[in-house]
Amino acid sequence: MIGLNFVYTVAGLAFAAFALSALAVRPRKWANAAFYLLIATSFLAGDLLGDVGNGVLVLALVALAASGRMRGGEAREGAVRPRGSRLFLPALLIPVAALVGTLVFKQLPAWFDPRETTLVALTAGVLLALAVCYAWLRPGTAMPFHDGRRLMDDVSWAAILPQMLASLGAVFALSGMGDVVGDLVTQVIPSGSLAGAVIVYGLGMAAFTIIMGNAFAAFPVMATAIGIPLLVNGFGGDPAPVAAVGMLAGFCGTLLTPMAANFNLVPAALLDLKDRGGVIKAQAATALPLLAFNIVFLYLVLR
């Protein structure tokens, strides 16, 4: 069955190609190449490494990132004749393939893992678009990977920060973080005050998301701390809005934190913003009113 194994194979080969490209430029980018090679290894052979092996791989990635030796993308060399509006077709092929593939692959559960149809379809779309580009533009075999690697160099170590935070969440869960936070925050809520509980719950979701960079990591902590014991069991609230609106309050925190690298730092790098915090600043005036909305809305529903 085609599922994540296919996706990870393609991703592993792409990062291996990025590593080769980083060694092909002069001066060679050793640190970048090593970083991409480790990611390629994780994608291609992560299941064979064992838990400790994967942990060691992560430590090597961290050491490379912290060494400060990774370099940003160099200027593009070699002029080509620019092409017309047909350039949009391969670019649009990727989202269209992801859309159509998601719908079609779901009907073929014997062939495609139904839980992963969008990622499989996206990967297929990328391969299709790449094939079209080769056939039409004839750029030479290595050119797409040089161009892709230059963009990758700009993203740099931020590329794996989300994956690192997801893993940190697992360690937090293993260490019983949720119960400890719960004992702590319930002390600041005036007893019997629904408004107080809702405010601390909403702000806590946002604050924990800002620290962890991910509302997924914050939700189990705040649900254990306030959502279930106070709002649902204490005040008899409907668990559906408590969970759903609480999660959305967390999303407001995601808009405000550099720890959510894939949403806030990576776009700033991809768009060559001078201010790495530019995306967060652009989002603040949307995130704060929405956070207030979520808290007030949840209070009105539970009242």
Partner: protein, 219 residues
């Protein structure tokens, strides 16, 4: 109580501007040790979780295609296209994109667009071109590009939770189940709709205000 040191490490490490990957790794170690785990157990738990969440890093496979198309002039073409649409404004363009993003994410298609797939190659250059027309000058390129990325995030975040099979919905269901609360994913996703509407109104208003401020620049 000691496990809270892990959070302190994150906050402090970030304030002191250490590399965030290093901060996360140290926080995991401190948290695990504080909870009485031995260092190898922490390393194994971290490695296992890292391996299980590789899908988060898959998206960079689009970069070769995007990088190559840019070599052949994709961004410039996107700008020229908008320059020909006389009534296109930055705000209207981004409102359209936000609604597209919310609606597609609401039916589970959150990977069809994003900073690498659509914002860098298409949406940001289009928004910039429109802003240049509106101001008749540099078009405040930094602010407009940042707003394009912000609009992508807002559309995604406040659309995806309406989809019943999205990770966050399944996570909520799983956490509630631990407390003996059984809930239909559909019920959770319904409660995401009011916030989705509020997000469209708040961010849409800001985009219209952006148009006004760009227009004032011209005058």
């Amino acid at each position: 109580m000691l496990v809270l040191a892990g959070i302190a490490v994150i906050a402090l490490g970030f304030l002191l501007r250490f590399n965030p990957l290093l901060v996360v790794a140290v926080s995991a170690l401190v948290t695990g040790l504080a909870a009485g785990l031995d260092p190898v157990a922490v390393l194994a738990a971290f490695g296992r979780a890292f391996n299980d969440s590789r899908y988060v890093t898959v998206i960079y496979i689009v970069l070769p295609v995007i990088g190559l198309l840019e070599r052949y002039g994709l961004q410039r073409r996107a700008r020229e296209l908008i320059a020909r649409l006389k009534r296109a404004t930055t705000g209207r363009l981004l409102i359209g994109y936000m609604l597209f993003r919310q609606l597609t994410a609401a039916v589970g298609l959150n990977s069809i667009a994003g900073p690498a797939q659509t914002v860098r190659p298409l949406i940001a250059p289009m928004a910039q071109a429109a802003a240049e027309l509106q101001t008749g000058g540099d078009g405040e390129s930094e602010r407009v590009k940042a707003m394009a990325a912000a609009t992508d995030n807002v559309g995604l975040f406040f659309g995806e939770d309406i989809f019943i099979a999205i990770g966050s919905i399944l996570l909520m269901k799983g956490v509630l189940e631990n407390y003996g609360i059984d809930i239909e994913p559909f019920h959770l996703s319904l409660w995401a709709i009011p916030t989705a509407i509020a997000a469209a109104i708040v961010h849409g208003t800001r985009l219209l205000l952006l148009d006004r401020s760009l227009k004032r620049k011209r005058a």
